[in-house]
């Protein structure tokens, strides 16, 4: 990634430019725009990390993504080095071709799953949150009792409860869940996958599915080829070289069952338009009694379900990572609790030795949650056009 660059925020310029830390300077806005303009990924409140100036997003902990990539790479390389020459000679030249295609598919879809925004919902602005609070208070009891805050809606003639998310300050849309690892609400939340190092949600589920299907084909293919090689060559042997040659076989043998199982499970989920989250919780299995609790989102047709999930229109990213944070004129005291997680997130982002976020004046930190309209003329168009 040669064109990766980090936006270095210079807190000295920020802190010295305004004598009053609660109000950013109005007249000096123009000339400071160039050095103060920050992109929205830099002030993103969730626990995510961003690369290439906001083009790629991953979870805070990359989990075992390097291990996943390493395993796939090592196994495939060993396969190409040790087994392909023999098999090309004795069987067909298509073997490395098929292996190559499957490998490319698997790796590309893995990277896309890892680096794509899974469908993160931006947190509610202060005005929105206040409006929702007002509605809850109007309809709720007079004593303030921290109620569970659910709202019921009818979806396809079925009652669905929407929960209120205290972190994001909004009622979660249906099928949305808050991932505690990433500290974000994710639409159509499936699960947080440590192998991939990211949540799997509405926007990257198809990549994830392609990844596990192509990976299961790849492991099964490599397993078959290496077994064939062993059988055909009838060559025994001991020692390191032999162990190295047959290691793809061992790796594939142990992984093919779990990956095939996972593919089968997700194929079932796709066909019935369920998420892992819903399946585990048994939301629609009718365990809560005799009431009719079918899945209200299913089209009751396997083909339609599959097509809608895998071939449906690709929704845009809602978090506008590369847009610019507008400079605000009034910094009213937004919720203080947003400051800490945001500072923690910024610590993650500025990991390359930039200035520590604790030097930032509080007012900049507090402006984040009220994500307003981008008033800057700089980006001519909103950034949700950028793919990924």
């Amino acid at each position: 990634m040669k064109n990766c660059e980090y936006q270095q925020i210079n807190p000295q310029a920020l802190s010295t430019s305004s004598p009053n830390p609660t109000l950013p300077p109005r007249p000096a806005v123009v000339e400071e725009k160039e050095e103060r303009a920050r992109r929205k990924w830099e002030v993103f409140p969730g626990k995510n990390r961003f690369y290439c100036n906001g083009r790629f997003i991953v979870a805070q902990q990359s989990g075992v993504l390097p291990l996943t990539l390493g395993l796939i790479l090592v196994t495939t390389v060993l396969f190409f080095v040790f087994d392909c020459p023999f098999l090309v000679k004795h069987l067909t030249v298509f073997i490395p071709a098929i292996g190559g295609v499957l490998f490319v598919f698997a790796v590309i879809s893995l990277l896309q799953t890892s680096f794509t925004d899974p469908g993160i919902l931006p947190r509610a602005t202060t005005d929105e949150a206040a409006d929702i609070e007002k509605q809850i208070d109007n309809s709720g009891s007079s004593t303030y009792r921290a109620p569970p805050r659910t709202k019921e809606v009818m979806i396809n003639q079925q009652v669905v409860k929407l929960k209120y998310c205290f972190t994001c300050k909004m009622f979660r849309p249906p099928r949305t869940s808050h991932c505690s690892l990433c500290d974000n609400c994710v639409e159509r939340f499936d699960h947080h996958c440590p192998w991939v190092g990211n949540c799997v949600g509405k926007r990257n589920y198809r990549f994830f599915y392609t990844f596990i299907v192509s990976l299961s084909f790849l492991t099964a293919f490599i397993f078959g080829c290496v077994a064939t090689h062993l059988a055909l060559s009838a060559q025994g042997g001991r020692g390191l070289i032999f162990a190295l040659q047959e290691s793809p076989l061992v790796i594939c043998f142990f992984s093919v069952w779990s990956i095939l199982g996972l593919s089968g499970f997700h194929t079932y989920l796709v066909a019935s338009n369920l998420t892992t989250n819903e399946d585990i919780k048994g939301s629609w299995s009718g365990k809560s009694g005799a009431e009719d609790t079918g899945n209200p989102y299913s089209y009751n047709n396997i083909i339609t379900n599959c097509c809608s999930i895998l071939c449906g229109p690709m929704p845009p990213s809602l978090i506008d990572r590369r847009g610019f944070v507008p400079v605000e004129e009034s910094s009213q005291t937004v919720a203080m609790e947003m400051e800490l997680p945001m500072l923690a997130a910024k610590k993650e982002i500025n990991v390359v030795g930039g200035p520590t976020p604790s030097q930032l004046p509080p007012s900049r930190a507090l402006q984040v949650p009220s994500s307003p309209l981008p008033a800057t003329p700089n980006p001519p168009q909103p950034d949700w056009q950028t793919p990924v």
Binding site: F105, I108, S109, Q112, L121, P122, A124, T125, T126, D127, E128, A130, D131, V153, M154, I155, N156, V160, L162, M170, P173, P174, R175, R206, F207, T210, P296, Y297, C307, C311, G312, P313, M314, P315, P316, L318, I319, D320, P326, V327, E328, E329, S330, Q332, V334, S370, S371, P372, L373, P374, A375, T376, P377, P380, Q381, P382, W384, Q385, P387, V388
Partner: protein
């Protein structure tokens, strides 16, 4: 989106943000993007009901068009799958094209209908497709901070 401010800039000097109304999503037909067409009481004195409902219905139609699953979207999806989804890096999806149309429509509505009445519609994409935010401006420049905060009146006076 910046041009919305320029249109309201003349208003800005004499207007201040008084209130914001939020139109929530309508989930009665599933998770597809639809907004409630209920006419908020705060707008009763500001705009005719028919105009407002037209705007929201047109927006709902646009979103339905973006999320419609038909021949074209399946073709796009299958082609994307066949290329390991790499075409998303070079091609603008149909959804994004419709979102641009929506942006232009909202801008046009703001210029023609809402700004003269002291209202401003915020594109739902700016709010995570959760709400349609309608800002109400008072004609008098007084009434200080009000719900203050952000932004919509922000920063344009440079």
């Amino acid at each position: 989106m910046a041009t919305e401010f320029h249109n309201l800039q003349e208003l800005r000097h004499s207007a201040s943000l008084a209130n914001k109304v939020f139109l929530q999503r309508d989930y009665s037909e599933g998770t597809t993007c639809r907004f409630q067409t209920k006419f908020p009481s705060e707008l009763e004195s500001r705009i005719e009901r028919t105009l407002f409902e037209d705007t929201v219905k047109t927006l709902n139609n646009y979103y339905a068009e973006a999320e419609k699953m038909g021949g074209q979207s399946y073709l796009e999806g299958c082609l994307a799958c066949a290329t390991a989804y790499l075409i998303f890096l070079c091609m603008e999806t149909r959804y994004e094209k419709v979102l641009k149309k929506i942006g232009r429509y909202i801008q046009e509505q703001n210029e023609k209908i809402y700004a003269p009445r002291g209202l401003l519609i915020t594109d739902p994409i700016e709010r995570g497709m959760r709400v349609i935010e309608i800002s109400i401006y008072e004609d008098r420049g007084s009434s200080g901070s009000c719900s203050g905060s952000s932004s919509t009146s922000g920063s344009s006076a440079r």
